[in-house]
């Protein structure tokens, strides 16, 4: 089909989203998109979801750290932000999400807000609560394996 004349083409805004999880989580674009749709639908219904038309574009995720671009219609950025905030877990893995910024083009969004540095976690043993436990260390962040899953800490807690 012939594409629309320029003045009728939809106007988009691109939200750069930072993602953080426990080190054992395994996410991909599909699961993120599905849970984002569910979050939007649960928060403002089918009509609102169609209006915002949230689509996940590029998705990078490794070892508990990730970043992605979410596309929304111009004028619905704040609704999109609310849906992203209501994204509590993906495939049962709890996620921390944060909108780093909003741009008018994918390229500006990538250049400004995405840095491509993901992953590089190191397995190490730390002393937590007077016991030696395995942990994953990512720069200053330390995720300690405990009975109920993980406990979040920083290097400060082990000095």
């Amino acid at each position: 089909m012939k594409h629309l004349p320029k003045h009728l083409q939809p106007r988009w805004r691109y939200l750069a989203v930072g993602i953080e999880t426990w080190p054992d989580a395994d996410l991909d674009r599909g699961s993120f998109q599905r849970d984002l749709w569910y979050a939007a639908q649960n928060l403002y219904g089918d009509a609102g979801s169609a209006e915002a038309d949230l689509t996940v574009l590029s998705f990078h995720f490794t070892e508990g750290d990730g970043e992605t671009i979410v596309r929304a219609h111009r004028g619905t950025e704040e609704r999109a932000r609310a849906a992203i905030a209501a994204l509590d877990s993906i495939d049962g893995h709890p996620v921390g999400v944060r909108v780093r910024g909003i741009s008018g083009t994918v390229r500006a969004c990538e250049e400004r807000y995405l840095n491509g540095r993901t992953g590089h976690g190191q397995q190490r043993d730390v002393v937590f609560e007077n016991e030696s436990t395995p942990a994953v260390v990512r720069d200053t962040r330390v995720d300690v394996e405990v009975e109920e899953g993980f406990a979040g800490a920083t290097r400060l807690d082990f000095e």
């Binding site: 609704r79 944060r98 406990a151 979040g152 800490a153």
Partner: protein
């Protein structure tokens, strides 16, 4: 802007991890609602660029038990928070001028094995507490802030969330009408449950609380912390009365 968090062992992340995450998210600091947690506040404040406030969260089954704990905590901590959840506890908290914040008036501390319950620590959304015009007026007169808990809005689904939203709308109406003080928090139990102020504002707008109103609730923590620190400082005698040099008039 501050977020009031449940730090390890009350929650799943340490106060330091919360503070580091809050710094990235644009908060000025975190208020640690300590029940069992006891981070080294002095050291954390020195090594981090955000503020870490020592607060006590009093979790009791009835007003008699809470009353003693409030007296103990008042002199030791900057901020005193009472977890509500039953009508008796809610009423007790708002009628005590010694209490700073009535937390989770609806869902409270219903027992649950999951320490990361969706509604803040142990709260599973089945609390039977309520807030009415009597409590709102008492809260205004005693300067007790009622907490607007956004936790279930972010982390619950379906009927429980709908019921919670209905309660929040009613609470906002009461708070606005009686001009009662309030604070907003998402009750995060791990650093992954923390959300940036703008995100909470957007959620507030979406559920009918208003973005500005939500942000004002986050900023209310700043004023509370500043006021209490001043009161705990050595030069403070009574409101308006301080020990020290005269203020220069010019």
């Amino acid at each position: 802007m501050y977020e009031a968090v449940h730090a390890y062992p009350d929650g799943a992340s340490t106060a330091a991890r919360f503070a580091a995450t809050a710094e990235r998210y644009g908060y000025d600091g975190v208020v640690v609602r300590a029940d069992d947690a006891s981070p080294e506040y002095g050291r954390l404040r020195e090594s981090l660029s955000v503020d870490v406030v020592d607060a006590a969260e009093i979790v009791a089954s009835d007003p008699q038990h809470a009353s003693g704990a409030v007296g103990n905590a008042r002199t030791k901590h900057t901020v005193v928070i009472v977890a509500g959840g039953t009508n008796a506890l809610n009423r007790f908290a708002v009628e005590q001028a010694r209490v700073d914040v009535l937390a989770r008036p609806f869902e409270g501390t219903v027992n649950g094995d999951d320490r990361n319950g969706p509604n803040g620590r142990n709260g599973n959304g089945n609390g039977d507490g309520d807030v009415n015009h009597v409590l709102a007026k008492a809260a205004r007169d005693n300067d007790v802030r009622i907490e607007v808990n956004l936790g279930p809005v972010l982390r619950d689904r379906g009927g429980r969330r709908v019921r919670h939203l209905r309660k929040l709308r009613k609470l906002k109406q009461l708070l606005d009408h009686y001009d009662a003080p309030y604070v907003v928090s998402a009750n995060p139990t791990s650093h992954l449950k923390l959300r940036a102020p703008r995100e909470l504002g957007a959620v507030g707008e979406e559920i009918g609380l208003g973005a500005e109103w939500t942000r004002a609730g986050l900023e209310a923590w700043d004023r509370l912390v500043a006021r209490n620190r001043e009161r705990l400082s050595e030069s403070f005698i009574a409101p308006g009365v301080e020990r020290g040099r005269y203020e220069e008039d010019d």
